[in-house]
């Protein structure tokens, strides 16, 4: 008799979700699904609102990565205003976006994932948490606090507000950078870089013990997508889309992101609120691709900063040009964070960073705008249509977690097949199924634009639909 396992809620991720694992008549895993069970509907909420309100409204999608939505939204508004922000305004937006990358990546790696990596997936859950990390490896825990704080402080110092800063506006930013603020940020960079490098050294030393997990944590061939600059190097703020297949061949390159609908399809399923984005030419659901830190370090020719490029070279020597396992998101996330810290320093040392000209002004000059940037979890698209008065008529958001939805489902299926061996759930089994989702660091509040707390609900369901076992936490 076949059956189904449900994990609900899934813990140590951003938002509400549930996992169901279906067993076949032989008791083997036949299928697994990652359900996102929260919904808010920002695409509908914003209809009828003036376009200049969009960045502030959209930033409310998420308390973890509001800056990402602020950036993508402001860029979409730039297009509607047909306005080009001054170069310094662009650079300051870049700094804030990179600070967001740092703090969110730090949250994912240090606070959410390091307990598993430090203690192992079979460890006692009472130990496998931040207090356990603090007791076992206090330097790692202190570095986690320090790196996240570094990113958050930059956001606060630039935006004048810790949460949902309104500093990024259509046309640029609403205030120039003070020399004192620049110097204060610069003074914190050396320690941030040192902390990230310590974490990288620790992670690389521990990597060998995770070979089994790496072989089953979403290890499959797929394409990867991210923004790159004109030279093919990583670009978190702007640029063109590049898609690389599992063999390192470019499926598409230098795609204008505003033509995303020509390449990306969006599918919905009745069992989840999270849309699944797919590569059109491969169809649905075969057109799976991945975005985020792993995609960024794979598709980019180079990153463009000294330390990060050295780490990228080592990453590629260790894992190859296109590592197929989603487990390596952790490694890539640290390199991505190192790059961000280095790049922030470069930008702040630019000769014009204190220029008072940081914003351009205009009225409604276009009825449509598409803003694209790299958020911590991957490529983020905001697409708006407005009437001649600038009132929003329609909005579509393509969020990193949506890009990764097919890949996350495939990963959960793979882990379930490897580790779920009976109709009774065990903690290590549960944790591995959760942990593979954490590799992607999904932000469910963003991807469904919904309210939620971390939670996990796992159900094991038989062929008749009966729930054979269930864990909630």
């Amino acid at each position: 008799m076949s059956s189904k396992i449900v994990i609900s809620p899934v813990t140590r991720i951003e938002g509400h979700s549930k996992i169901t694992i279906h067993l076949d008549d032989q008791g083997e895993v036949a299928d697994a699904q990652f359900h996102v069970t929260q919904f808010r509907g920002f695409e509908r909420i914003v209809q009828g609102r003036p376009v200049h309100e969009m960045p502030s409204i959209m930033a409310r999608i998420c308390g973890i990565c509001p800056v990402s939505h602020l950036i993508a939204s402001a860029k979409a508004c730039d297009q509607i205003l047909a306005v080009k922000p001054p170069p310094t305004g662009v650079d300051l937006r870049r700094v804030m976006n990179l600070a967001q990358i740092v703090q969110s990546n730090a949250l994912s790696f240090f606070h959410l994932s390091s307990p598993d990596l430090l203690f192992g997936f079979d460890a006692d859950p009472a130990q496998r948490n931040i207090i356990g990390v603090a007791r076992s490896n206090p330097q790692l825990a202190r570095d986690g606090v320090g790196v996240r704080r570094f990113g958050q402080q930059i956001i606060e110092w630039l935006g004048g507000k810790r949460i949902h800063p309104g500093w990024v506006v259509p046309g640029g930013v609403d205030a120039p950078l003070a020399a004192e603020t620049r110097d204060r940020i610069l003074s914190t960079i050396p320690e941030a870089i040192a902390a990230i490098e310590r974490a990288l050294a620790w992670y690389k030393s521990a990597l060998v013990q995770w070979e089994e997990e790496a072989a089953s944590f979403g290890d499959f061939r797929s394409a990867f997508m991210a923004l790159v600059d004109k030279d093919g190097n990583v670009d978190h703020y702007d640029g063109l889309l590049r898609v690389m297949d599992a063999d390192g061949k470019l499926l598409a390159d230098r795609i204008d992101p505003t033509t995303y609908t020509d390449y990306l399809g969006e599918a919905v399923e009745p069992w989840t609120y999270l849309k699944s984005t797919y590569w059109r030419t491969l169809g649905y659901p075969e057109g799976v691709y991945r975005v985020g830190p792993l995609a960024r370090v794979i598709v980019a020719g180079q990153l463009g900063t000294r330390r990060a490029d050295m780490e990228l070279d080592e990453f590629r020597r260790r894992l190859g040009r296109v590592p197929s396992s989603s487990f390596h998101y952790h490694y890539a996330r640290l390199i991505d964070t190192l790059y961000a810290a280095e790049r922030i320093e470069e930008l702040l040392r630019g000769p014009d960073i204190l220029s008072p000209r940081v914003r351009s002004f205009a009225g409604i000059n276009s009825n449509e705008g598409i803003g694209v940037s790299e958020a911590p979890r991957g490529t983020l698209l905001h697409h708006y249509k407005v009437d001649d008065d600038g009132i929003v008529q329609w909005a579509n958001l393509v969020i990193a977690t949506g890009h990764n939805n097919l890949a996350m489902n495939r990963s959960v299926r793979q882990v379930a097949k490897r580790y779920v061996k009976s109709a009774q759930l065990t903690e290590p089994m549960l944790n591995r199924v959760e942990a593979v989702i954490r590799c992607f660091d999904p932000c469910l509040s963003c991807s469904t634009h919904a309210i939620g707390e971390m939670a996990l609900h796992l159900q094991l369901i038989g062929p008749t639909g009966a729930v054979l076992d269930e864990i909630k936490r």
Binding site: N129, I131, Q152, R162
Partner: protein, 178 residues
Amino acid sequence: MTGGVLVVGYGNALRTDDGLGWHAADLLADDPRLAGATVLQCHQLMPELALDISVAALVLLVDASHALPAGTFTVTQVERASDAGTTWSHHLSPPSLVALAHELYGRAPEVFLVSAGVESVELGDRLSPVVEAELPRVVDAVAELVASRAAMTGADPVAEPAVTAVAPADPAAERTHA
């Protein structure tokens, strides 16, 4: 005692009475009885606060609570957690935060939690009438506690801000803590 007074008002300011901590922090930031204190607002207690707590002389956390009747509040001293529990995520309970400060930085001052009951946590940026009426008493309780601890320890709790910039930025802008 290496620092001054740190007040953290937390909760969701867009969830009616769950925003009690934010409203209290707004008033306390301008309250002359707490001049010089560091007053923060955040949605959740984040691990990053452990550093700020470790260098403060006295910490007061102000939050809403489902467990109390609306129009009432309690003041309790927070003890360090001996166990972080099994499902730690990206926010901490007050006892876990105190424990983290101890583990990472070797010290934590006295930490008090001021909890106020809620009537509603529906969407809204204003307090319910009953909780709004209670708000001044919550603020007074914080100020009186600061004064009483200063009298007991002989320290000037408002002389030195604990830290100048904290960014327990964000989290879950829309999560309920009550």
